[in-house]
């Protein structure tokens, strides 16, 4: 009998190779039981790998049947479509009642697919997250149009025969088959005979499968390790939980035919099932927009046009500028042509709801910065102010719906989400999933544990090798760590970890991506419970949704919007002036002056040390400069080495040249240097002749951490050749490639930068002109940003704002403003807030105080007026003694003439029992004072820090200033003066550590900001200095640093050479700095 050609690279001597051909189509085979890695921690190959391998082996079709899931189906579908092979959409239903019984099911048409999705949704919705609870009855209920393959359990008992007989009646019309497998076990022959007999007895045809878990036998080790991870065992102890051999891979049709030579009909049956499953493909899922947003009697486009012009009239009360009018008309034409009217209406509906509730929102992303969106109120970026090109964000070629993300106030986003659920119903709206995949650290950790490496070693490997991409210099790294790079177990573990990177681990919910459909969503895709109560998530992630062209709106939360809304509310209450994002005066030169000086503590985005050090160099003077500023301090531009060329060109040190006029069109607005992700794409199209589709693939490979970070290298040859062909020099071509691959780390799209820049400008304007309100709003929106209340308060005070302490008789829960704006504020930074309202700190700063207690106290003060004793306050407000105690610890009883010490002493005598019976007799009774020990002022300040994180009395450092002067320490204020501290001088500063930052891109440079009683000082630690003084740099709260001064404009840095901890001088300073954002 002739033998088959072999799939393995190494010929298996048991099967002599032969020249018999593949070309026996009548002998074709389809593997039906295929577990991909979307059966998490079970399958050993990606769905697309399995499809590609099936096509390569010449199977008639490919199938994916994950356990109770369709999560990997879209990926398989995309791969199958590219290869032109049929994909059987299917699923392995594992029943929980009776247990251990499973069926493969394949829909034959769209209706059957809807049934399958509904069935899975049913099972998932009644089980815990990630699980599915289905009984035989459920399957029977939803069987219409499904083909089923019964997978026999290990023991073929009477009960199973009965189930099979019952199922045969239910799955009439020859839709049921019985799976038979040859797994190279000892009892194969017996087992196959038993299954065949059972099939014959019940009258169910036999079908051949190989229960595939990976596409090639080389994945067996990885699959074994996955099993170990799933079961929490080590490989040495996994024993019989692993598979006995490496046979569960896709085998060539001829090999399968040979293995089942005794049962030829079982092979034919696979083709039969594939043929009948042809009736359904994922392409049939035509997406339909929900039509609630269109009122009856009009079309979507008509409605959009009327809304847009109505909005335009509202936005431009003084008449529509011609430029904007032309723009709106152009965009509307394009929207009409591409049929995106529904999409824009949906987005508008959500934004309009937010506006009606007073929730601040701001759209961003492709298409959001259009004139139409401005008119619809989705964004506040005035098209008159920036030169946006709609086509830049929407391309005709890319058949994808436009992408609009909407940011909402983070504290109120939930209201918007609940609105969407309410409007469209849970059957039609759900969050998209996010596939959580293995990244380096996690992969090393899990594989290391499964391989039985010691936990200590696993920790070290994960820490040291997390960035490692599996290519270079591993040996060196291991040697550095003192490990033997030739140790086989270690090598094997690392290789497996590298293979595991990119494997999906579990499904999580996307932060805010909503899918909304016209028909019930559960007929398109299974829906499962999310970890959060009251949330449901579909099984597909946003790439899958994109691939199928479904509508998606990202509803995101942004802390700064909360802060801005609170700030504008405070301004409205205190000054009577109501601002919105769109009405904040544009292009204010005083605001840009402040930005150029890097005086940006607390504002949006440009408050980090890296951003702050860029500001004086970039000197933003207009809105578009801010767009660039937001995008430029990102790993992408920094790694692509685009920052310095841009700065040089901007300052005129370098001529601005373009390789060709087309390139000038692309890069003109950024002086010939690509800074945005879109520019990288356009560059690939213009300079290297990519089609938009290819450019989009390039974008996808860049955008996220896809499977391998170096996927982008695939495009290298294509890109460089393309550019050489078009007459560019090789040097230029390589430079462009470096720049584009720089975006692989993290690039920022212009469309997002434009939206962010508006928030940057708004927050800067408020900081410049309403410093008290801005500081109050920031503190009330904590936690957010880099800075803590202490620094925000200090910054406000430095700008002339009067800051008043927390007091039970005056403070609310939130910080409030007292008084109104007086005369004209001065132009010096220290006078900006001088005549403005004062900032009264709120009780939210008191550690451990509940909001309920604070509100009770504030209410009773409002009702009964100022309180003169604690007892009265307690009686009238019903606040808990714990709350009062916390307030006393925060020294908030000064208006009663009590110090922290005396207040605590009196409250200590109270307890939470019901009010004293005799309170009517002597309400003002206070026990006679006792002589308590005196507390030193330094200690008082530390107590302030302990209970509120800041002190208005004095700075802790002022108590050790004499010692510091003795050590010749310069103050932060002196550092600012150029005469005393010129460029290059070596000196010492000391202070409390405010912020430690180590930007991922700055090659190990660490920024530390110190604060003393006069101001703050910026330290820069190069990595060698950081390593040398690691212990101080990482852990000390109070630091003394010496080094030399670097001045750049008004920004002063100290390049540190030595560090010393002063922790002992200020003991028990229990204040955590914000470390390493």
């Amino acid at each position: 009998m002739p033998e088959e050609p072999l799939p393995k690279s190494r010929p298996h001597p048991l099967r002599a190779p032969s020249i018999e051909s593949h070309y026996r189509n009548e002998r074709g085979y389809v593997e039906l039981a295929v577990t991909s890695n979307f059966t998490f921690l079970t399958g050993g190959s990606h769905p697309d790998e399995l499809v590609i391998e099936a096509a390569r082996l010449g199977h008639c079709a490919a199938a994916i049947t994950d356990r109770n899931s369709l999560a990997g189906m879209v990926r398989a579908h995309v791969a199958a479509k590219t290869l032109g092979i049929q994909l059987l959409v299917g699923c392995r239903i594992e029943l929980s009642e009776p247990t251990g019984i499973s069926f493969l099911v394949f829909p034959t048409d769209r209706d059957a697919y809807a049934k399958l999705c509904t069935l899975l949704t049913l099972g998932k919705r009644r089980a815990a997250k990630g699980q599915c609870d289905l009984s035989l009855h459920d399957l029977i209920e939803f069987q219409m149009g499904l083909l089923a393959v019964a997978i026999p359990p290990r023991v073929l008992d009477e009960q199973y025969i009965q189930i099979l007989q019952g199922m045969k009646r239910v799955f009439d019309d020859d839709r049921l088959s019985l799976a038979m497998r040859k797994g190279y076990h000892q009892d194969d022959a017996v087992r196959m005979r038993q299954v065949a007999d059972l099939g014959g007895h019940v009258g169910v045809p036999i079908v051949a499968t190989n229960d595939v878990h990976y596409h090639t036998p080389a994945r067996r080790p990885l699959q074994d390790v996955l099993t170990c991870i799933r079961l929490g065992k080590t490989i040495d102890h996994a024993g019989f939980d692993l598979f006995q051999n490496a046979e569960r891979h896709l085998k060539p049709a001829d090999e399968m035919i040979h293995l089942f030579r005794a049962y030829p009909l079982a092979i034919a049956r696979t083709r039969h099932i594939a043929e009948r499953a042809k009736g359904f493909s994922l392409d049939q899922l035509r997406y339909c927009y929900p039509d609630e947003v269109v009122p009856e009697g009009t079309t979507a486009m008509e409605h959009l046009v009327s809304l847009t012009w109505k909005g335009a009239a509202w936005r431009y009360p003084g008449g529509l500028p011609d430029k904007v009018k032309a723009q709106v008309e152009h965009e509307l034409r394009l929207i009409d042509e591409l049929e995106y009217a529904h999409y824009f209406l949906t987005v508008h509906d959500i934004a309009a709801f937010a506006v009606s509730q007073g929730i601040l929102c701001q759209g961003r992303g492709a298409a959001a910065n259009s004139a139409v969106c401005y008119c619809l109120g989705v964004t506040a970026v005035d098209p008159d102010r920036v030169n946006v090109l709609f086509e830049r964000f929407i391309s005709k070629e890319r058949e994808e719906p436009p992408d609009i993300d909407i940011d909402f106030e983070h504290e109120r986003r939930e209201e918007v989400i609940q609105y969407i659920y309410k409007k469209y119903g849970r059957r039609r709206a759900a969050l998209t999933a996010e596939v959580i995949s293995y990244r380096g650290k996690m992969a090393i950790r899990d594989v290391g544990k499964a391989m039985g490496l010691s936990l200590d070693l696993v920790d070290r490997l994960a820490k040291e090798l997390s960035w490692w991409d599996g290519t270079d210099a591993l040996e060196g790294r291991l040697k550095e760590m003192g490990l033997n790079p030739n140790d086989p177990r270690l090598r094997r573990s690392l290789a497996l970890a590298g293979e595991l990177v990119g494997f999906p681990r579990h499904l999580s919910q996307h932060v805010g991506g909503f899918v909304i459909t016209k028909a019930p969503l559960c007929e398109m895709v299974p829906i499962e419970n999310a970890a959060m109560p009251q949330r449901t998530v579909i099984e597909w992630d946003k790439d899958d949704i994109d691939a199928l062209g479904m509508l998606k709106v990202d509803v995101l939360g942004l802390g700064m919007l909360t802060c801005l809304r609170k700030c504008m509310d405070l301004v409205a209450a205190s000054d009577g002036e109501r601002f919105t994002l769109a009405t904040i005066p544009a292009e204010d030169s005083q605001t840009y002056d402040m930005i150029c000086k890097a005086d940006t503590v607390g504002v949006f985005q440009i408050e980090s040390r890296a951003q702050m050090s860029m500001l004086p160099r970039l000197k933003p003077r207009c809105y578009y400069d801010l767009v660039i500023e937001v995008a430029i301090v990102r790993p992408g531009p920094i790694q692509g080495d685009m920052v310095h060329p841009y700065l040089r060109r901007r300052s005129g040190d370098q001529p601005i040249t373009y390789a060709s006029p087309e390139i000038e069109r692309v890069l003109g607005r950024t002086l010939g240097v690509p800074l945005f992700q879109e520019q990288a794409m356009s560059l690939a199209i213009v300079a290297a002749g990519f089609t938009p589709g290819e450019a989009d693939q390039l974008r996808r490979s860049i955008a996220g951490w896809k499977r391998k970070t170096n996927e982008i290298r695939k495009f290298q040859a294509r890109l460089i050749d393309g550019m050489l062909e078009r007459g560019h020099t090789r040097q230029f071509a390589e430079q462009v490639f470096t720049q584009i691959s720089g975006f692989a780390g993290y690039g920022f799209p212009e469309s997002h930068a434009a939206s962010f820049a508006l928030l940057v400008y708004a927050s800067c304007w408020l900081k410049r002109h309403k410093p008290a309100a801005f500081a109050a709003a920031l503190i009330n929106s904590q936690p957010m940003g880099f800075y803590q209340p202490a620094q925000l308060v200090r910054d406000a005070a430095a700008h002339g704002v009067t800051v008043l302490p927390i007091d039970v008789n005056i403070s609310q829960w939130d910080c409030t403003l007292e008084g109104r704006s007086g005369g004209q504020p001065g132009s010096q930074p220290a006078q900006w807030g001088k005549d403005g309202p004062a900032l009264r700190l709120g009780m939210c700063l008191v550690k451990g105080l509940s909001e309920v207690d604070a509100n009770r106290i504030a209410d009773s003060v409002r009702k009964h007026g100022k309180m003169e004793s604690i007892a009265r306050l307690r009686r009238l407000s019903q606040a808990s003694t714990t709350g009062l105690r916390r307030l006393a610890a925060a020294d908030a009883f000064t208006s009663m003439g009590l110090t922290r010490q005396t207040a605590l002493w009196s409250i200590r005598a109270m307890n939470d029992d019901p009010m004293p019976l005799f309170d009517g007799i002597d309400p003002a009774y206070e026990p006679p004072p006792v002589a308590l020990p005196k507390i030193k002022p330094g200690r008082l300040v530390l107590q302030d820090y302990g209970s509120t994180g800041l002190s208005l009395k004095a700075h802790p450092l002022s108590f050790i200033r004499s010692q510091l002067s003795h050590m010749k320490v310069t103050t932060a204020a002196e550092l600012q003066s150029e005469q005393r501290c010129p460029q290059g001088r070596i000196l010492r500063v000391a202070g409390i550590v405010l912020v430690r930052q180590r930007p991922g891109t700055a090659s190990g440079v660490v920024f530390i900001t110190l604060e003393d009683e006069t101001g703050s000082a910026n330290l820069i630690l190069w990595s060698d200095v950081f390593e040398r003084f690691r212990r101080v740099a990482r852990h000390s709260r109070v630091i003394m640093a010496s080094g030399h001064i670097e001045r750049r404009g008004d920004v002063v840095h100290l390049h540190v050479r030595q560090l010393e901890s002063l922790d002992e001088l200020i003991p028990a300073l229990d204040q955590a700095s914000r470390d390493f954002h």
């Binding site: 000892q186 080790p221 102890h237 051999n245 177990r489 922290r900 002493w905 200590r908 852990h1035």
Partner: protein, 496 residues
């Protein structure tokens, strides 16, 4: 102690860590580490970063430390009769009435301190008229060795921090809030105010420290060892005499064990020989036992072989590994044996759980010497040669058998290593037709297979094996495999 045990040099810092919420916290450190800035309560990684060289880190073991403290308490009874443990790190010694034996309190303190140092402990001692006062002074006093008389007690406590009062951290924090940090400041405040605010416990502790309130301690009680001894009138080398004495001593020990409802796992027998060093014999059992006959069975072969020299002058028997034996009723009214008390499912399947088997094993082990009795333990591996392991049963406690036995049909005899053979195949991959063994060609009547077993790649092995079960025409069932990697055939076993 640790330093001495592990022979660390004086510069290596020693840290003891304990896990708190999945973080490692320093729970104790040595002087070297403390000098480097380490304090109790900081995270271990922080502490490691502070120290210039690699520190020796040990996990805290509270139960071990408690045992050690108890042993130290027993040891301290050599100085005074009444000793109490003060968890977690102190001892109370009642020296009243003992001073005179040592020539005063101070000589006694110095003596204890010297002895402690010899043991490797840096101890702080204080003698005071109240337990609380001594506790405070020992921990917070300015010298490691203090002795105070009643009239000076209040004065010497005044400057100590309030932590010295043995009050909870919470109370300490509350007092510190209002500026009270020293015992003196507390003493200055009106008592009614204190009790009202901080509870009676604070006042009680204050009074206990000042010796104005009564305090009870719980002295340790020392457990007598299970021990029997007999000194002979003169040396004898007559084995019968020695045997009789030995059995008597065994009976005594068993009697003592019975009185305590316990049994022992080990028995140390020491023969004092007139001209040679004492001879030590050890008897071990696999279960707790106080069965004199059984123990004698184990001891007698050793005695027979013992070198007596010129004679034995005495004999001591000491039981070790003493534990309480739980009684099971085995008979009821002389009828029906009761079902054995199955402790756990795993153990029930272990043959050693059967007392008679355990006794047999003990006897065999005593006769054959250590490692003389083995048993096979199944392991979870597809590879037949790794699917079991032999373990010595000598003084082996009953083990839990976790592993499943491989489900497939396996031969009763396994060849290790496998023997290379030559086979003739009907066709490639097909059934085996004949096997060449011992230069003889055996025709194969039937052949089952192949069963493919994957290599244990994690142990660096490579290559699958294809196993065939073949029946030869002389009636033997052989297990033959093909090593794919090496492309060779082997005989691996046989059903006999």
């Amino acid at each position: 102690m640790t330093r001495r045990r592990l022979r660390l040099d004086a510069k290596t810092p020693v840290l003891v860590s304990r896990p708190v919420h999945s973080r490692a916290i320093v729970s104790a450190c040595c002087g070297v580490a403390a000098a480097g800035g380490v304090f109790v309560g900081m995270t271990l990684s922080h502490a490691k970063a502070l120290l210039p060289c690699d520190a020796h880190v040990e996990a805290a073991d509270p139960s071990r430390e408690a045992r050690l403290l108890r042993r130290l308490a027993v040891w301290a009874t050599r100085f005074v009769p009444v000793v109490a443990v003060s968890e977690p790190d102190g001892l109370f010694l009642d020296a009243s009435g003992c001073e005179r034996l040592y020539g005063g309190l101070n000589p006694l303190l110095r003596r204890i301190q010297r002895a402690m140092r010899k043991l490797g402990f840096a101890a702080r001692l204080a003698a005071a008229p109240s337990w609380g006062g001594a506790w405070a002074l020992a921990r917070f006093g300015d010298s490691p060795c203090i002795s105070v008389i009643r009239s000076g007690l209040a004065e010497s406590l005044r400057p100590l921090p309030i932590e010295a009062l043995r009050i909870g951290n919470e109370t300490v924090g509350l007092l510190r809030e209002v500026g009270i940090t020293r015992i003196g400041e507390l003493m200055a405040l009106p008592r009614s105010n204190l009790a009202h605010r901080y509870g009676q416990a604070l006042l009680r502790r204050l009074d206990q420290a000042l010796g104005e309130a009564f305090e009870l301690i719980e002295p340790i009680r020392i457990r007598e060892p299970v021990y029997a001894e007999r000194l002979f009138d003169g040396p004898t080398d007559r084995i019968e005499v020695i045997e009789i004495i030995a059995r008597e001593l065994l009976e005594q020990v068993c009697g003592q064990l019975a009185a305590r409802e316990s049994g022992c796992r080990e028995l140390y027998v020491r023969l004092l020989r007139s001209d040679l060093a004492p001879l030590d014999l050890t008897v071990r059992t696999s279960r707790l036992s106080r069965d004199g006959k059984h123990l004698w069975k184990l001891l007698s072969p050793q005695l027979e072989k013992a070198q007596l020299g010129f004679g034995v002058e005495g004999m001591r028997v000491r039981a070790s590994g003493v534990g309480t034996i739980r009684h099971h009723q085995t008979q009821c009214m002389g009828r029906e044996p009761m079902a054995p008390n199955e402790e756990t499912d795993g153990r029930a399947s272990d043959p050693l759980a059967d007392p008679s088997v355990a006794m047999l094993v003990d006897v065999l082990a005593a006769r054959l010497g250590p490692g003389g009795v083995m048993r096979a333990v199944p392991l979870a591996s597809f590879l037949p040669e790794q699917a079991f392991r032999f373990e010595a049963v000598q003084h082996l406690l009953p083990v839990r058998i976790n592993a499943d036995v491989v489900r497939a049909d396996r031969p009763s005899m396994l060849l290790n290593p496998p023997v290379p053979v030559d086979v003739v195949l009907l066709r490639p991959g097909g059934p085996i037709t004949s096997v060449a063994m011992h230069k003889r060609l055996l025709r194969v009547r039937s052949c089952i297979g192949p069963e493919r077993i994957g290599a244990e790649w994690w142990n660096g092995e490579d290559g699958d094996r294809d196993y065939f079960k073949v029946a030869t025409d002389d009636g033997r069932w052989l297990w033959i495999f093909f090593a794919v990697q090496r492309s060779r055939w082997f005989l691996h076993g046989e059903w006999t």
